[in-house]
């Protein structure tokens, strides 16, 4: 492997291929920052254009776009509370709060550094551990996926917010929304009201944008009407450096990256789950969990490191077995195929230059991201906030509407966006948190479909679902997540009693 890496290096560093990675990273930043345009779309458009090109040039652009896009999504998430990609949703929770406090520049810096660290660790795990990690991922069948979803749902408890009841109601709303659409096992349509666009359920991009982007716009209009224009809450000068505080962030970066890598390897889960699970984990181990959601930079760090770590890891099963770990990995797989690069062990045998070159490009683009994202993009995009709020609100609205329309080219989605936005605005006014809704929507359908698959496979035997070692570990983790806070509370109360 070392030989292959050494011999691939000159190809990666050839000027044309370096340029390709840079170009891809910049394009990815832009695509990621525009809501509705996802990295998947960007790469899909790229593939036919790369037919006649050198494979490493084409793959370099894809690698750049993957890492660039995953950070790009964080920019509007932090500045405007608009999730640029579904995987940037957890970044909103603390990132936008930091912006409101005038710490936009610091939040962007935390996001880019954390994203780079996650991406780098992920790329290294891709280079070093692809074969053993892929064996691990194959141990996950429908039963194990069901328990992953249950574990995820158990961690929702840490997102509920101050009012437990309201948090639980929000999670239930999410689970209810997750039931919308056609049941794939029977073909029965649930809560679709005979509307064709609802047959696949609510589009996740439309839902997330409506939930998170519309309420602050309405808030802005409301405040602008009340107090007139007031806009320079947001300073972009230097606000401290995340690098000088690396000791505090290091545990979060490491834990979040591991979570992102594990979720990345598993197909069907995706970036939005990585960022949420990493966020929940950081909040759970934090000494001040109540400061999360109120502008704690650790929240941004966890979400973006988890998101970045999802990237290269999702390529591990894609390159070794042809099982894409995410939507983007699926498109990259298509891009490899048109260059005659078929996934499997022979890919590493027959084309080591290309495949190790590609892995190095994933690593390289992560570093380029620090440069392009940290220096240029953050400064440029940050300028948007200098606009007075009365102007910013309609601009964000336009930006979001165009983006949402572009997802499915459908007017229906725009109506849904407005409807969801209005409901979300009311829910926020009543202090219902949005994050549990999202987790309910993502995990509910996963838990349901995997449970049904597992029961179909086991012939209805419920015990069989909990019998594999991985299932048992996941069940134990779930119990731990649920019981640990009770245990802590009990100990605290005992201490208080003896003191």
């Amino acid at each position: 492997m070392i030989d292959a890496l050494v011999s691939a290096l000159p190809h990666v560093l050839a000027p044309a291929n370096l340029f390709a990675v840079l170009l891809g990273t910049v394009a990815g930043l832009v695509v990621g920052a525009l809501p509705g345009l996802t990295v998947t779309t960007g790469i899909a458009i790229l593939i036919p254009l790369t037919f006649g090109l050198d494979p490493l040039f084409a793959l370099g652009m894809m690698a750049g776009m993957y890492n660039g896009g995953s950070y790009g999504g964080a920019i509007p998430a932090i500045l405007m509370r608009v999730p640029g990609t579904p995987a940037s949703v957890a970044t909103i929770l603390d990132g936008y709060e930091m912006t409101k406090r005038g710490q936009a520049a610091y939040a962007l810096q935390v996001a880019v550094v954390s994203g780079v660290i996650g991406s780098v660790l992920s790329a290294i795990s891709l280079i070093l551990f692809a074969p053993p990690l892929v064996k691990l991922s194959l141990l996950f069948g429908p039963a194990e996926f069901f328990w992953v979803a249950v574990l995820g749902l158990a961690t929702v408890s840490s997102l509920l917010g101050e009012d437990l009841i309201k948090g639980l109601i929000a999670a239930l709303i999410g689970l209810a929304i997750g039931t919308i659409g056609q049941d794939i096992s029977t073909g029965v349509e649930r809560f679709t009201f005979d509307l064709l666009p609802l047959a696949d359920g609510l589009d996740i991009v439309v839902l997330l944008t409506g939930l998170f982007a519309i309420p602050p716009v309405m808030q802005m209009i409301e405040e602008a009407l009340k107090v007139g224009m007031s806009g320079d809450l947001l300073k972009l000068r230097r606000q401290g450096s995340v690098l000088s505080k690396w000791r505090e962030f290091m545990p979060i970066w490491l834990r979040s990256s591991v979570i992102g890598i594990v979720i990345g390897i598993l197909p069907g889960a995706g970036g939005s789950m990585s960022c949420f699970l990493a966020y929940n984990d950081a909040k759970r181990i934090s000494k001040n969990p109540e400061s999360f959601g109120k502008g704690n930079p650790e929240g941004v760090a966890a979400s973006e490191a988890g998101n970045g770590a999802d990237n290269a890891a999702s390529l591990i099963p894609a390159l070794t077995l042809g099982i894409p770990g995410s939507g983007v990995a699926a498109v990259i797989l298509g891009g490899l195929l048109v260059h005659g690069l078929r996934p499997g062990p022979q890919l590493f045998r027959d084309h080591p230059d290309v495949i190790y070159g590609f892995m190095l490009q994933m690593l390289l683009s992560a570093f380029l991201l620090a440069l392009v994202g940290g220096l240029a993009a953050t400064r440029i995009f940050g300028q948007a906030l200098r606009l007075p709020r009365i102007m910013l609100a309609p601009i964000i609205m336009l930006f979001v509407a165009v983006g949402v329309y572009a997802v499915n080219n459908s007017m229906f989605d725009l109506y849904m966006l407005l409807g969801i936005g209005l409901v979300a605005y009311v829910l926020e006014k009543l202090d219902y948190p949005s994050a549990p809704i999202v987790l309910g929507v993502i995990l509910g359908p996963l838990a349901e479909s995997q449970l049904r698959l597992a029961l179909t496979i086991s012939g209805g035997n419920a015990v069989a679902i909990a019998s594999s070692p991985i299932s048992m570990i996941l069940i134990a983790l779930t119990l731990f997540v649920l019981v640990a806070p009770l245990w802590r509370a009990w100990q605290d109360s005992r201490k208080a009693a003896t003191a």
Binding site: T40, T41, I43, A44, I45, I47, P48, L49, F51, G52, S137, L138, L139, F140, G141, P142, A143, Q182, D183, I184, S185, T186, G187, L196, P197, A199, D200, P267, G268, P317, L321, G322, I323, P324, G325, G327, V328, A330, V331, G334, L337, V338, H339, G340, R342, P343, G344, P345, Q346, N408, N409, S410, S449, L453, T456, I457, G459
Partner: protein, 321 residues
């Protein structure tokens, strides 16, 4: 008011004149190509790839814009295609037999006659596979196991209820007089994961998706659902050879709304033919092992008609919904 009506009538006549004159110098403006699936899917990549080469061979600076209208298993995009203006400026990809199935179960707002077939591009036969460690070496062994324990042998499919793979399993049950139990994974990646991890005893896929895994020895093909063996995988037996006359597969082709002038259909048909034979395209298709299968408009129509008739027969015996 009357003036307005007159003006409208004049405009309509003028527009009519323009559109009838335009087929001579077709295409005079960009052509929209509707893809009923999301960007990045197999159909989307196929569409974007062929669009570039169709532009080249249509000549006169032709432009083709791929428009994704995903949702409801393709129904949204296909409805849009069926109801578009038949002026040759809206074409789209259709996937048979999935599209025929929607019509046969009387769910869709369109009929197969609402489309003008232009050309078929891809035919990918269905296959039945098992893990390399599976005890089942032949189709007969798997069928015998299912006969011994009806409804307990699972076949994983990437589709949902009513997908072409599901219909193939129903046909298999009928033809071999067995009861296999379909498990719906809803995507290609999860079903691959499940068969490679040996979580399910067998799975259906399309041949092109499985070639590499079979060559690596990770999975074994028990049978190809085609009339003849595939040139890509000569040693894999067909179902027919093993006494079960099951033929099923997925196609991708281009169609327009019904009523497009015949000369425009001919131009588009010719552009697809030339694009498929373009050396640069052929090279990419060969590398990606895309099972190309060009059919001219009338041959494509015959295939679509046959699929509809077959599905109607299946629907009567074993409705899939």
């Amino acid at each position: 008011m009357r003036k307005l009506v007159q003006l409208g009538a004049c405009l309509a006549i003028a527009l009519g004149a323009i559109s009838s004159a335009s087929s001579a110098e077709y295409p005079a403006k960009p052509i929209e190509m509707i893809v009923a699936f999301a960007p990045g899917g197999g159909t989307d990549v196929a569409a974007r790839s062929i669009a570039r080469f169709m532009e080249k061979h249509l000549g006169s600076n032709a432009r083709i814009a791929v428009i994704n209208k995903p949702g409801a298993g393709g129904e949204i995009g296909w409805t849009a295609l069926a109801t578009a203006q038949p002026d040759g400026y809206t074409i789209g990809f259709i996937n048979a037999p999935a599209i025929n199935a929607l019509v046969v179960e009387n769910k869709a707002k369109f009929k197969m006659d609402d489309f003008q077939p232009i050309a078929n591009l891809v035919y990918d036969p269905g296959i039945l596979v098992v893990n390399k460690n599976s005890p089942y070496k032949t189709l007969k062994e798997l069928i015998d196991a299912a006969k011994k324990a009806p409804n307990s042998v699972v076949i994983g499919t990437s589709g949902a209820a009513g997908s072409s793979e599901h219909i193939a399993i129903l046909n298999l049950n009928r033809l071999a007089d067995v009861k296999f139990n379909p498990a719906f994974f809803g995507g290609t990646a999860p079903v691959r994961q499940a068969i490679l991890g040996n979580h399910i005893p067998s799975a259906t896929m399309n041949l092109s998706e499985a070639l590499q895994l079979v060559r690596e020895g990770e999975i074994r093909i028990l049978g190809i659902m085609d009339a003849e063996r595939s040139s890509y995988m000569k040693d894999a037996p067909t179902f027919r050879e093993q006494g079960v006359d099951l033929v099923a597969g997925a196609t991708r082709g281009i169609a327009a709304p019904k009523g497009v002038p015949a000369d425009i259909v001919a131009k588009l048909e010719d552009a697809v033919d030339k694009a498929l034979n373009d050396p640069e395209y052929l090279e990419a298709a060969r590398k990606a092992e895309i099972p190309l299968n060009f059919l001219k408009a009338n041959e494509y129509k015959a295939l679509l008609d046959k699929m509809t008739t077959d599905l109607e027969a299946t629907w009567k015996v074993t409705p899939w919904r």
